[in-house]
Amino acid sequence: MKLKEIAALVDAECLTGQCFLEDEVEAAFGCDLMSDVLAFIKGKTLLLTGLTNPQVIRTAEMLDIHAILFVRGKKPDEEVIRMARENNMVLMTTKHILYTACGILHRNGLPGVPISEVKK
């Protein structure tokens, strides 16, 4: 699913990486636990989270995650946005809670990370 479709579905505001909104992701992972993100994510994945600290960007960087959707209306500070920009990431924010944002995206065809990855 294209990032711009995701933005439209959850009524998200793009904080940085506007020029990458044509890029696509194949799955999504919704989580506030970066330890789990590091353990389970593979491939072109959208990360949905309510955490906005610099470690979210670092975690995404290590995993080659290029798109993060902050939920519950959270916005990271300028330093975090700068880090994301340096790594060519797309940061978006939606007012929806994590459960609702995940529900909307799943209903519209964006699957979760396969359970086989989670069980490994």
């Binding site: 330890s35 590091l38 470690q55 670092r58 960087e61 290590m62 490994k120």
Partner: protein, 146 residues
Amino acid sequence: MEKKERSESLKLEYEVLKDDFARAGEASSNIKKVLRQLGIDAQIIRRVAIATYEAEINIVIHSEGGKITLYIYPDCIQIIAKDAGPGIENIELAMKEGYSTASHKVRELGFGAGMGLPNMKKCSDEFYIDSKKGDSTTVTMVIYMN
């Protein structure tokens, strides 16, 4: 495990400070950039990046500070994460998924779920941990190029 000392290796070394949450991950970020410049396979880089990042976070949150050293060989990458203590009381317990001694502050950052060491092991082809209470901890990981 003996530290490999071969002439054809490239060495990278980074100091990691205790409680430096703002800069945690910088060393791993630099390592990843160097590996990319060297043209190393993306899947290998990903495993090294996760392993070094988990090690770096562990040094920041659990130790008195330490160092991450990488030796890059034509056939493998060796990562050595060594801290200045205080050591792990029960290594078997520390290796168990879900077991953590992390503080509330660390958990607020999204870490401390007890996945660090198991995930480092999962990313490595060889994994060694050497620690005892009151002393330093050394984690050595080897990732094969193929």
